[in-house]
Amino acid sequence: MAARVAQQLVKFIVLIFAVSVVAFFLVSISPIDPVQANVGQVAYLNMSEAKRAQLAEYWGVGTPLWERYGHWLGSALQGDLGLSLRYNAPVTDVIAVRFANSAALMLVAWVISGVLGFALGIVAAAFKDRWPDRLIKGYCFLLASTPTFWLALVFLIVFAVWLGWFPLGFSVPIGVAPGDVTLLDSLHHLALPALTLSVVGVANIALHTREKAIDVLQSDALRFARARGQSTAGALLHHGLRNLALPALTLQFASISEIFGGSVLVEQVFSYPGLGQAAVTAGLGGDVALLVGITILSAAFVFGGNLLANVLYGVIDPRIRRAERKENHA
C-alpha cells in the first residue's frame, strides 16, 4: 500500500513540475507585451525610457526563458509564486482567498452531481429501455449538449430575475461589511452557482454508470444472482453497487477537471469571486504570475483527485487489499 502511494506521489510531483514548465513556456511566448499589458497603454506611452527599461528588466524581457523559469522555480519552491499585478498582492494570497470560495462551490457540486448521477445511472440501468431509463437518458443527452454558461444564464433569468429567489451574483451581499456576512448569506449566494454546476455534472456520471451497470447486469455474477430469484434492481443493489462504485468514483475524481472548468464559466456568469474568475481576469489582463499559479493549482487539484481515486481503489477492492496483506506477511 505504502509503495503504491509513494509511487503515485512521485508521479504527482513530476507531473506538477511538467505543468509548470508548460504553463511558463506558454505565457512566455505570448505576443502580449507584459510591460504594456500591466501598466496600461496610456501610462506606457507617457513613461520615460529609463522607467520602461526598469520595468522590462523586472519582467525579464531581456533574459532567456530558461533563466527566468529557473528564477521562478527557485522562489516557487520557497513558496513564493510572485506578485499578482491585477490584484496587487502575492499570488499565494490571492489564490488562498479565492480558493476557499471556489472550493465550497466545487465541493457542493462535486458531491451532489456524483451522488445524484450515480443514483440516476443505476435507476436507468435497472429500468433499461423503459420510461425511467428513457427519461434519464434524454435528460443526460440534453445536458451533455448544453453549454454550462448558457444554463447558468437561464438559471439566472429564471431564479434570480423572474422569481427573485436568489441574488444576481457575488458571494456576499453588496454593501455589507465582511464581518457582518452570515453563513446563511454565503449559502444563499452559493446556491445558484452550485446548482448549475451540479445539474451539468450529473450527465456524465449518470450515463457512465448506466453503461457500466448494464455491463454488470450482463456479467455472470449478476446473472446468477438473478437466477437465484433476485429482481434486476435487487441484484444491482446487492451485488452491483460495490462493483459500480469503483469506476464511478474514479470517474468522479477524473471529472474534477470538468467541474473546475465549469466553475470558471459559472463564476464568470454569477460574478462569483473564485479561482475561475481570477483566472479569467489574469488571462485577460496579462497577469502572468497569477495565471501560472492558478494553472499549477488546478492541475494539482486534478492530479490529486486521480491520486486519491487510485489509493481508494486499493481500499475498496478486497482482491487488492488481501493480496497486499499477504505480501506484507510474507
Binding site: 455472470d220 455474477a221 446473472r223 437466477a227 437465484r228 430469484g229 433476485q230 451485488h239 462493483n243 482482491r319
Partner: protein, 423 residues
C-alpha cells in the same frame, strides 16, 4: 388444449394436461394406469416418447420439468456480404460460440471488417446500414423432460446453444431473442413471468464456475442470499396448496419443507447456510473468504450450496465440472446423485458424454439446435439401441470404442432414422 375433465381425471390434475402432450389421442388417454406416479419403470422402458429408467418417477402424475417444442432465435442483422453468401453466414451465426451467453457479442467486429473487404467503402457502408434484421434460429423444436428422482444429461458440443436452454427454463432471455415453446414445471404450464418467479423458488441453477459469484462479497453472505418479496403470486400459491395432499406420498422430495413465502428470515438463512457448509465439509472459515480465495473443489461445493439454500425441486447444472480433476468431478456429480435420490430432478448440461454416462439416468443428445434423442443411459451400451445417427456417432467416439467417428457417421447416415419406435 381443449380437453374434457373425464380425460384428465386419472391424472388428478386440476388444470393442465399432466404430461403436456396436447396431441394425446383420447384412445390413449382413455386407458391410462390408475395412478401413474406409482408405476415402477423397468429399465429403459420407453413411453412418453422417451426411454425411462427405474429412477424416473412421475411424482404427482406428471413430469417434474418438461420442455416442449422450444424454439429460440435471435434477431440479427444480415451480414453485409454478397447475396450468395447469405446462407453461409446465417449458418455461421447459428453455430457461433458467442450465442451461449449474449447473442451477437463479438460479431460486430467481423461485420465491421466486412465493410473493408474488397468492396468500395461507400457501398460497403451502405450495405451495412441498410442490412435487414432477420430471425436466426438457434434452438428449434426441442423436447426434454426431467422426472422426479433422476439426472438427465443434455450432451452436446461446447458452444452449441445448450446454455440457452438453461436460460430459457430460468426465464432469462436476451433482449433480441425470440423464444417460443411450452415449459411445464410440476405439472403447471409456465409463462415468462412465472418462470422468473420459479428462479430460486423451485428451480435452482448451479453455474459453471466461481466467476458467477460476486467477487467483492464474502462467500457466506452470498450463499445465504438476500430476502426477497414472496415470489409466488397468489394464484400459484393457491395451486400449490391444493396440490399439497397429492404430494404427501412424496415427502422425501426436496422442496417439501419449503415455506411458501420467500426465503425466511436472515437468521434462518444463516443457520441453513451453516448447516449446508457443515454437510458439504466446508469450514466456517470459508464463509469469511472471498470467492477468489477458494480452491476448485471448495468453489464447486459453495456453488452447490447456493442452489440448495433455496430447497429446489429441480437443479439445472450448467457444465458444473470443467476445470475439476476427475476425482472432484465424480464427487460433484455424486452430490447431484444424492439430490436426485432424495426425489429431486437434475438437468445436467455438459459436453462430456463419458461423465454423463457415468452419473446420469438418461441422456438427451443435443445436436444442431435440438435434442435428437432422449434415451436411457443403458441404451448407450450398444449402438444398436441408439436411434439417431448422431447418437451412434457419439457412441463410436467414446474412447473405449473405436474412435471411428467419420466412418460411423457415414454408415449410420445411410440407415433410415425411425424417430418413433414402439416401446
Amino acid at each position: 388444449m381443449q380437453r374434457k375433465p373425464s380425460e384428465i381425471a386419472p391424472y388428478n390434475l386440476p388444470t393442465t394436461d399432466a404430461l403436456g402432450h396436447p396431441e394425446m389421442s383420447s384412445a390413449a388417454a382413455a386407458q391410462p394406469p390408475r395412478n401413474h406416479s406409482l408405476i415402477e419403470h423397468s429399465s429403459t422402458q420407453e413411453h412418453h416418447h422417451h426411454a425411462h429408467t427405474p429412477a424416473s418417477r412421475h411424482a404427482g402424475g406428471h413430469h417434474l420439468l418438461q420442455v416442449e417444442g422450444l424454439n429460440i432465435g435471435f434477431t440479427l442483422y444480415e451480414s453485409s456480404r454478397r447475396q450468395g453468401d447469405d446462407r453461409q453466414s446465417a449458418a455461421a451465426g447459428k453455430g457461433d460460440d458467442g450465442l451461449g451467453q449474449s447473442a451477437g457479442a463479438g460479431r460486430a467486429q467481423h461485420v465491421g471488417q466486412d465493410s473493408k473487404a474488397g468492396q468500395a467503402p461507400f457501398f460497403a457502408a451502405q450495405a451495412f446500414l441498410r442490412a435487414r434484421q432477420n430471425l436466426v434460429p438457434v434452438i428449434h423444436d426441442l423436447h426434454v423432460s426431467v422426472h422426479a428422482g433422476e439426472i438427465v444429461a443434455i450432451v452436446g458440443a461446447s458452444g452449441s446453444g445448450k446454455t440457452l436452454l438453461a436460460d430459457a427454463i430460468m426465464g432469462m432471455f436476451e433482449p433480441n431473442a425470440t423464444v417460443k415453446g411450452r415449459i411445464w414445471f410440476d405439472g403447471e404450464e409456465q409463462d415468462a413471468r412465472s418462470l422468473a418467479q420459479l428462479r430460486g423458488n423451485g428451480i435452482s441453477l448451479v453455474p459453471q464456475s466461481i466467476n458467477h459469484l460476486d467477487p467483492l462479497m464474502k462467500v457466506g453472505k452470498q450463499v445465504q442470499g438476500f430476502a426477497k418479496k414472496a415470489p409466488i403470486a397468489g394464484k400459484m400459491r393457491e395451486n400449490r396448496a391444493k396440490r399439497l395432499p397429492m404430494r404427501e406420498q412424496d415427502l422425501s422430495a426436496p422442496g417439501h419443507s419449503q415455506s411458501l413465502s420467500g426465503r425466511g428470515t436472515r437468521k434462518e438463512r444463516v443457520r441453513k447456510q451453516q448447516e449446508l457448509f457443515a454437510r458439504y465439509g466446508l469450514t466456517p472459515k470459508v464463509a469469511q473468504q472471498y470467492p477468489f480465495e477458494l480452491s476448485g473443489g471448495m468453489a464447486r461445493r459453495v456453488l452447490l450450496c447456493c442452489a440448495l439454500m433455496d430447497n429446489p425441486r429441480v437443479i439445472i447444472a450448467d457444465e458444473p465440472t470443467p476445470g475439476l480433476d476427475l476425482e472432484l468431478a465424480r464427487l460433484a456429480l455424486a452430490d447431484f446423485r444424492d439430490f436426485a435420490n432424495a426425489g429431486g430432478g437434475v438437468l445436467l448440461i455438459t459436453h462430456d458424454i463419458e461423465l454423463a454416462l457415468q452419473v446420469a439416468d438418461r441422456v438427451a443428445v443435443f445436436n444442431d439446435g435440438t435434442v435428437v434423442e432422449e434415451t436411457a443411459v443403458a441404451h448407450f451400451a450398444s449402438p444398436v439401441t441408439l436411434k439417431h445417427p448422431f447418437s451412434r456417432a457419439l457412441w463410436h467416439a467414446l474412447p473405449e470404442h473405436d474412435f471411428a467417428v467419420c466412418e460411423a457417421v457415414d454408415k449410420s447416415a445411410l440407415l433410415p432414422f425411425d424417430g418413433d419406435a414402439p416401446c
